[in-house]
Subunit: 351 residues, 2 copies
Amino acid sequence: MTRRAMVRSVLFGAAALGMAAARFDTAAQEATPAATPAYGDPLPSWADGPLKQRMLAYVADSVTKGHPGYLPPNQRVATFDIDGTLVCEYPAPMQAYFAVDMVRQIGEADAESARAPVFQRVLAGEFDDLTTVEPPGFLEVFDAVNGDMTQQRFVAFARRWLQFAIHPVTGKRFIDMVYQPQLEWLAHLRANGFATFLVSAGSVDVVRAYSLPLFDIPTWRVIGTSYDYEFAVSGGKGQVVGTSQVVALTNKASAIGLHVGERPVIAVGNSDADLPMLQYANGAPTPVLPMLVHHTDAEREFAYDRDYSWSPLVAGLSDAQAFGFGMIDMKTDWLRIWPEEPSPPLLASGN
Amino acid sequence: MTRRAMVRSVLFGAAALGMAAARFDTAAQEATPAATPAYGDPLPSWADGPLKQRMLAYVADSVTKGHPGYLPPNQRVATFDIDGTLVCEYPAPMQAYFAVDMVRQIGEADAESARAPVFQRVLAGEFDDLTTVEPPGFLEVFDAVNGDMTQQRFVAFARRWLQFAIHPVTGKRFIDMVYQPQLEWLAHLRANGFATFLVSAGSVDVVRAYSLPLFDIPTWRVIGTSYDYEFAVSGGKGQVVGTSQVVALTNKASAIGLHVGERPVIAVGNSDADLPMLQYANGAPTPVLPMLVHHTDAEREFAYDRDYSWSPLVAGLSDAQAFGFGMIDMKTDWLRIWPEEPSPPLLASGN
């Protein structure tokens, strides 16, 4: 174990949060889907209109044998971006706050780690305001969080942080800032035999900390930036360890080729980084449903697109009509944004 | 499209096998599990004895709430090797025959491709007897098959070949040489909420050509050697293309970390290359069931272990007792080896 890994285990180990973990363990393991569609209308938080009709018709056709839009189950593949598509990402993605906080805590507890330049910059407050950060300059903060611990331990750290972390503007927990309409859409797709996947440029193991309790999506349906995992064996017992070698997800369609091996027919995103997923769907010989969330609601959430430096939407807006993207206008298409109930507990023992 | 890709599409394109494809399309898409367990005994092809009792008890405990062996659904993860574990791999894996045949056909049809040394060696008959081949020297044959076509097209090529290809010793189709007892074991696990994964050192996209019709396992639960997939867009429509950059699966446990993100509790293999999966399972705090198939049946299949150059079993035999591996003695534990019915058609349109 490296020194940084030891510091991590003191800071975030089971003892520190043992009581909370014990209390939440069982509930989290038995987590059920966060949304249950109302009887009669599977998408009650979506405003009636052409987009909702298109979504409902697409799913109905895909399960109707003999219909030209019928899809055999193995072709019912739906891929979703996360930040800005399923959860709030403004003014910065929750993974960015997580990374700054992890690095700060490690740096405050361990003088040796703190000597590294990236720790110095975090401790000096350079990343306290994430709205002024240029994302490429932030990559080393993400990298400083990774490495030198088992996958299970890293996921558990992320869970403990996410369980309580608060959004800097709204004061809500990050995990309560999921989009209720999307929970309904995911549940409706699954009820009709679609396999739903999360595809994020963020760390796959941070997403795996919440994918099941928040979205009813198991760890093996999560695709993201990962590490060069190492395998360590001692006395016949093995552990998978995330090294500090980051393997960035650079193209979402290529990543789907590797991990899914089947073209998505439904692809949902909110930024230009998601366009490869939508274009890949559009290359199918069958009917498809590519969609983009457009953040237009400054009152209930945030309004942004072209100028959002973390993940701008530019080409997506100009291509939308020509390529048949279903544009989700948050202000008019979503009757409500946030779920009525808080998200279920994340803490779980792992294995 | 490269010249080699063009030759491939002439050789294996839809036109050449159009009639067969049309005939099989619907059936393959609707493929059902290859095995349905008999009522009362979910493992009728397994001989009664301590191993079968251990398997049945493990599964029964894992779904019994309150039992110390109970596992929440997200921890019910079972990973299976393919060659020699689920299908016959002797005297050489079916992927090796596929590779030689693909390279030979391309070489015979295209003088330019044929000039490359590896094509020359295949055309000169150097790999006609795969029992005399040293596997490391064979890697370039595998590599020569890859590259320069969409993932869907490559999978379709593999399907067309596998549909009819015949094992050189038994005269049966390769796809009919699946192990009936393992089909029952996979089905029993799934009936009890286990997620089943295939983890092979072979090409992931060849396995994806048969995983659903043969094993009821969708493409996204297949892990294997892959390519550096590229994404190509034209007119808003995208394609995922397998390049010739091979990304070899070198450690099965690390690959599970990347693709599954949850530790397996059941891991089944038949060679030392599978040991990382079994060791990773053994590192769990919960009860686990690591298993090895031992090929002991020279009459009904083949008898081999230490001296099988393609994938020897040496350490697995010496470690078995100390580390609690459930050893499957093919001769005594399996009442039958092959299914009564031929495998369902593989040909499918893809997407």
